[in-house]
């Protein structure tokens, strides 16, 4: 089978498969809006766990193809279509984001793409605010969080649609903080067969923005790659690949800080978190394999549309409609 045919098949089949899975979920038919009801037969728990695993698996594939983190799609969709309370979905969402970052970390660090010195000051600020965000999120009424989540998801979809990206941004002079902290690096870029040297600027503004991003990530239990990457790449001037990889490293520290707030509140159920984490991770591996065979631009548009739908649904749930 030629690559073009494979491309067509995968592009044609994945979105309907994924959307079909969503609409097969009984929650859509019977309990679409808030409040959630207990599952009719608790002994059928394994059906939900299995569905969550299968859903997370497809989510893992789609998120790699669309170039977004699993966490940002996981929370709005699962909280809208599964019978789990938003608290548990956010708890699981943080671990989905965290595990992805942990498993990809070692190889990205060895290649010089994920940079520890760049990530440490940002994650220090971000982990403090992500703890604050997690506390605020668990203190607020569930419908308020659901409403804010919906608004946040639509805003993120708009950011993803509008924000550009720059492979190798030009940084003339690093700022004082970047110079003092010695934040710079190099990595081998196979597409141009060269070692790329990079440095950053505008670190103070970056630190302020990472504080805000950490708060939102902790509050909604989402990964924050959608915001980390544009800030690192477009504002601070890190090359795109360094921005994406370092964002994961920041997330592994911020997510861990916020995760403990959820762990202490009893908002992490292994029955939900483990199938979600393993499904997304397995799906991501498959997604990475077929990445070169599909039209990622089309998938990205479909994902943005799905995010808008999930966001609207979340807003409706928050408003009790």
């Amino acid at each position: 089978m030629s690559q073009k045919t494979g491309d067509r098949i995968v592009t044609a089949l994945l979105p309907p498969l994924f959307s079909g899975l969503l609409f097969l979920l009984p929650a859509v038919t019977f309990a679409a809006s808030a409040p959630l009801h207990p599952v009719a037969d608790p002994s059928s728990w394994w059906i939900w766990v299995l569905l969550l695993f299968v859903f997370s698996f497809f989510l893992g594939i789609i998120s790699v193809l669309a170039g977004v983190g699993g966490g940002v799609l996981f929370v709005p969709i699962v909280s809208s279509f599964f019978p789990f309370h938003l608290d548990f979905v956010r708890g699981a969402g943080l671990f989905v984001a965290l595990s992805g970052a942990l498993s990809a970390g070692p190889s990205l660090m060895r290649k010089g793409l994920a940079d520890l010195k760049l990530s440490l000051p940002l994650s220090l600020i971000g982990s403090v605010s992500s703890i604050a965000g997690a506390i605020a999120g668990l203190m607020m009424a569930a419908d308020q969080v659901q409403l804010l989540l919906g608004l946040a998801i639509i805003a993120i979809a708009a950011i993803m649609l509008k924000s550009g990206k720059s492979g190798f941004p030009e940084v003339r002079e690093p700022d004082v903080i970047a110079r003092t902290l010695g934040i710079s690096g190099s990595y081998y870029e196979p597409t141009i067969q060269k070692v790329v040297d990079w440095k950053i600027h505008k670190t103070p503004i970056g630190l302020v923005l990472f504080f805000g991003i950490g708060f939102i990530g902790g509050m909604f239990g989402m990964g924050a790659g959608w915001a980390n990457v544009p800030v690192l790449n477009l504002l601070m001037g890190a090359p795109l690949k360094v921005a994406v990889a370092t964002s994961g490293l920041v997330l592994s520290m911020n997510g861990a800080a916020a995760a403990w707030i959820y762990l202490y509140k009893g908002a992490v159920l292994p029955l939900i978190a483990v199938p979600a984490v393993s499904g997304v991770m397995l799906g991501s591996k498959i997604g990475a394999r077929i990445l070169t065979k599909v039209n990622t631009r089309a998938i990205r548009v479909i994902v943005i549309v799905m995010m808008v739908i999930a966001g609207l649904r979340s807003i409706m749930k928050g408003l009790g409609i």
């Binding site: 690096g185 800080a257 403990w260």
Partner: protein
């Protein structure tokens, strides 16, 4: 990557140490997560709360659910860990501590290299995470 490219690419020793520790920790974490979950759902160890009970209450807020069933949370499981749900929970706890373990190795390297600024930043980062782990940062209670 060829050795020539490796020479040209500047990667700090601390970063390579962090990556090696992360590699071990993340793989161990994944194995523990799988093993813990198998022990839980196949009931190899009796859970503290039955799976059916959890499924009957997972539509409730976490705080409301805790009033009805006491699923493992924080460090509540330490005194009695040999239960299926606890083992699965512990594996998740391990994942959440991965960054702290790696940061401790980075702290040692920064300290050896007498890199004062990063020793302080890393120490502060570990302190923030330790505060969250200990429940001081607002998690407990």
């Amino acid at each position: 990557m060829s050795s020539e490219i490796q020479k040209e690419t500047r990667i700090d020793r601390v970063q390579l140490v962090y990556a090696s520790v992360l590699d071990i920790v993340s793989h161990t974490g994944m194995v523990l997560v799988a093993a813990g979950f198998i022990a839980y759902v196949f009931r190899l160890f009796t859970p503290t709360v039955s799976i059916e009970e959890v499924a009957a209450h997972w539509h409730m807020r976490a705080s409301e659910m805790q009033k009805v069933v006491h699923v493992p949370k924080g460090w509540s499981w330490v005194s009695d860990p040999l239960h299926g749900d606890v083992l699965s929970f512990v594996s998740i706890v391990f994942l959440s501590m991965a960054a702290m373990i790696c940061l401790t190795s980075a702290l040692a390297v920064f300290f050896q290299e007498k890199n004062r600024i990063y020793t302080i930043i890393t120490f502060l980062q570990i302190t923030v995470l330790a505060a969250a782990v200990a429940g001081i940062a607002g998690g407990a209670g």
